[in-house]
C-alpha cells in the first residue's frame, strides 16, 4: 500500500516526526489520564499544599494540595478538546466562507469586508468580549474562539481558491456545463487540503494559547474546570512560594503549541510547489 505522497515526505523530516511524536504522547496521556495519574485531580489535601516535586507528587502540589501532575494530565483533556473543537469549527466555517468568496466574484467583496472587520479586533479582546456576552462556559469559549479564528482561515482559503480557480481553468469547465457544486467539491476542495491542514495545526496551537490567556484573565472557562489556563490563573499568586504551579502548566502549553506549529510548518513546506510559489 502506497502512503499518500505527503505522508511519505513528512516521514523524511526529523523535526516534524519528533513534534508529531510529542503531540501523540500528549494526546495519549490526556486520553488515558486515569491510568497515568495516581491521584484524582480534584482531591484536595490542604495539609500538602504547595509542595515541590517529590516521589509522591511528581510535579508537586497546588494551593489546595491537589497533585499537579494529575491536574496537568487531566487538564490536557480539556485544553486539547477545546482547542481541537475550535480548530475544527473555525476550519470548517472558514473553508466554507473562503470557498464561496473565492469562487463567486460577487460575494467576494462583501464577505471579505466582514472578514476584515472581524480581524480589526485583537484576537484575545474579541474573544473576551464574546465570552462576556455569551457567558462563561466551555461551549461558549469554543464558540467564541471559532468566531475569532474563522476569518483567518477564510482569508487563506479564499486566496488558495483564487489560485486554484485559474489553475483548473474553472471558467472553461463551467462553460462546458459542469455543475458548480461538483466543481467545488470534487475539483477545488481536494486541492485546498494542504493549506487547510496547515491551518488546522496552527489554529489548534493558537486556540491552546488563547484559552489559556482567557482563563488566566478569569474570563474564560469557569475556574473549577481544570484546563492549563485555569490552573495558572488560580495558582499564580503562589508563584513565589512554589514556581511549579505556574511553571509546569506553562511548559505543557509551550510543548503542545510548539509541536503543533512545527507540524504545521512541516506540512506547509511540503505543499505542492506550484501552489506554494504562487501563494507566498
Amino acid at each position: 500500500m502506497q502512503l499518500p505522497r505527503i505522508v511519505r515526505q513528512l516521514l523524511h523530516r526529523r523535526i516534524v516526526m519528533v513534534s508529531a511524536a510529542v503531540l501523540l504522547a500528549i494526546v495519549v496521556l490526556a486520553l488515558g489520564a486515569p491510568w497515568f495519574a495516581s491521584f484524582d485531580p480534584n482531591d484536595t489535601a490542604v495539609l500538602e499544599r504547595l509542595k515541590g516535586p517529590s516521589v509522591a507528587h511528581l510535579l508537586g502540589t497546588d494551593e489546595l494540595g491537589r497533585d499537579l501532575y494529575a491536574r496537568i494530565v487531566y487538564g490536557a483533556r480539556y485544553s486539547l478538546a477545546i482547542a481541537a473543537l475550535t480548530a475544527l469549527g473555525s476550519v470548517v466555517a472558514g473553508t466554507v466562507i473562503g470557498l464561496v468568496a473565492g469562487f463567486f466574484r460577487r460575494l467576494d467583496t462583501p464577505l471579505m469586508r466582514v472578514v476584515d472587520a472581524m480581524m480589526s479586533f485583537p484576537d484575545i479582546l474579541l474573544a473576551i468580549a464574546l465570552v462576556a456576552i455569551l457567558g462563561p462556559s466551555l461551549f461558549n469559549v469554543v464558540f467564541a474562539l471559532v468566531l475569532v479564528y474563522t476569518p483567518r482561515v477564510a482569508r487563506v482559503v479564499r486566496a488558495s481558491t483564487l489560485v486554484v480557480r485559474e489553475l483548473l481553468f474553472v471558467e472553461a469547465v463551467r462553460a462546458l456545463g459542469v455543475r458548480t457544486s461538483r466543481i467545488l467539491w470534487r475539483h477545488i476542495l481536494p486541492n485546498l487540503m494542504s493549506p487547510i491542514l496547515v491551518q488546522v495545526s496552527f489554529i489548534f496551537a493558537y486556540a491552546i494559547l488563547a484559552e489559556a490567556g482567557l482563563s488566566f484573565l478569569g474570563v474564560g472557562v469557569p475556574p473549577e474546570i481544570p484546563t492549563w489556563g485555569t490552573m495558572v490563573a488560580g495558582s499564580q499568586q503562589y508563584a513565589s512560594q512554589a514556581m511549579g504551579v505556574v511553571l509546569f502548566p506553562g511548559l505543557a502549553i509551550i510543548f503542545t503549541a510548539l509541536s503543533l506549529q512545527l507540524l504545521g510548518d512541516g506540512v506547509r513546506d511540503l505543499l505542492d510547489p506550484k501552489l506554494k510559489k504562487t501563494l507566498s
Binding site: 466582514v114 480589526s120 485583537p122 462576556a132 484573565l217 505556574v246 509551550i254 503549541a257
Partner: protein, 313 residues
C-alpha cells in the same frame, strides 16, 4: 490615483461600518438590563422607564443604533457606569501607557527580529537559520502570562531591577514610567519578535531571489552591500507594514501582559469593564481599538501604494 484613493477610502468606511454594527450588536446582546445596572437596586420601575425613554432605549434596535452612531461621530462614547466619567475620558487616561508600551515593545521586537531574520535568510538552510527559525517558533508558543510571571520573578522580585507592577507614582516623570514599562515591553517584544523574524526572513528571501539582486551581485558589489543596502531596503517595506500593524494590534491586544504587570492600559480597561458589566466602556473601547487598526491599515495601504513604484493605478 484619485480613484484608487477613493476606492480604498470606500473600503475603509465599509469596514468601519461593519465594525460599528458588530460592536453594537455584541454589547446589546449582553444579558442584563443596562438601565437597572446603571441605576442600581434603589431604582423603582418608574425610574427605569423614565431613564429608558431618556436614553432612547424603548425604540426599535436600528433606531437605537442610529442614535448611538450619531453620538459616536460627535465624539460621545457614553458614560461609564462604574467609573462615572465619559468613556472617552477613561480611554484618554489610558492612551499614554498603552501607546508607550506598544512602541517600546515593537522597537524591541524589531531590534531582535530584523537582524535575526536577515541572518536567517542570508544563511538559509544552515544551522543558524534552523536555530533562529526554531527559536521564532518557540517564541510563538509561549503564553505571554507565563513569560511575564517568570521574568517578573527573576528581574523584579529576585533582582529588584524593575518595579513589580504599576505604572509609577501619580506624579512620576517620564523616565520612571518608561522604567516601569521595560519588563512588560521585553515580554511583548520577545514574543512578537518571533513573527518579525519569520516575516523578515520570508521577505528577504523573496527579495534576494529577484532579478535586480542578481544584477547587483554580477556587478561585483560586496555581498554585504547587496544584502544590507539593496535587498534590505526593498524587503523593509512589507516588514514596516507588519510592524505598524503590530503596534495597532497591541492597543488592546496586550491585555494579558497589562494584567500581569498591573498596567493601566486599554486592554485592561476592557477586561475590568467586562467583569464589572460596564457596557458603555466595552462598547466604546472595542470601537476605538478596531477603528485605530482600520485607520492604520488604511494609511499603510495608501503609503505603500504611493511609495512602491510597482503598484499601478
Amino acid at each position: 490615483m484619485h480613484r484608487f484613493i477613493l476606492s480604498k477610502l470606500g473600503g475603509m468606511l465599509a469596514v468601519l461600518a461593519i465594525v460599528a454594527v458588530l460592536v453594537f450588536v455584541l454589547t446589546r446582546a449582553a444579558s442584563g438590563d443596562p438601565v437597572s445596572v446603571l441605576l442600581g437596586d434603589q431604582a423603582t420601575a418608574d425610574d427605569i422607564a423614565r431613564v429608558k425613554k431618556d436614553y432612547g432605549l424603548d425604540q426599535p434596535l436600528p433606531v437605537q443604533f442610529g442614535y448611538w452612531l450619531r453620538e459616536v461621530v460627535r465624539g460621545n462614547l457614553g458614560q461609564s457606569i462604574f467609573l462615572q466619567r465619559p468613556v472617552t475620558q477613561a480611554l484618554a487616561e489610558r492612551a499614554e501607557p498603552t501607546t508607550l508600551l506598544a512602541l517600546m515593545a515593537v522597537a524591541i521586537a524589531a531590534a531582535i527580529g530584523i537582524p535575526c531574520g536577515i541572518v536567517s535568510a542570508v544563511y538559509r538552510g544552515s544551522v543558524v537559520d534552523q536555530l533562529f527559525t526554531g527559536v521564532a517558533m518557540l517564541g510563538a508558543s509561549i503564553p505571554s502570562f507565563w513569560l511575564g510571571i517568570v521574568l517578573m520573578q527573576m528581574f523584579a522580585v529576585s533582582l529588584g531591577w524593575f518595579p513589580v507592577s504599576g505604572y509609577g507614582a501619580p506624579d512620576a516623570p517620564l523616565a520612571e514610567r518608561l522604567h516601569a514599562l521595560t519588563l512588560p515591553a521585553i515580554v511583548l517584544g520577545t514574543l512578537n519578535s518571533a513573527l518579525i523574524i519569520r516575516f523578515t526572513r520570508a521577505s528577504m528571501l523573496d527579495v534576494l531571489g529577484e532579478d535586480y539582486v542578481r544584477t547587483a551581485r554580477s556587478k561585483g558589489l560586496p555581498e554585504r552591500t547587496v544584502v544590507l543596502k539593496h535587498a534590505l531596503r526593498n524587503a523593509l517595506v512589507p516588514i514596516v507594514t507588519v510592524l505598524g500593524l503590530t503596534v495597532a494590534l497591541m492597543i488592546g491586544g496586550a491585555v494579558v501582559t497589562e494584567t500581569v504587570f498591573g498596567l493601566p492600559g486599554v486592554g485592561n480597561l476592557v477586561v475590568s469593564a467586562v467583569l464589572r458589566r460596564d457596557y458603555p466602556v466595552i462598547q466604546g473601547a472595542l470601537l476605538v481599538i478596531a477603528a485605530i487598526y482600520v485607520l492604520i491599515n488604511f494609511s499603510i495601504d495608501l503609503l505603500y501604494a504611493v511609495v512602491d513604484p510597482r503598484v499601478k493605478f
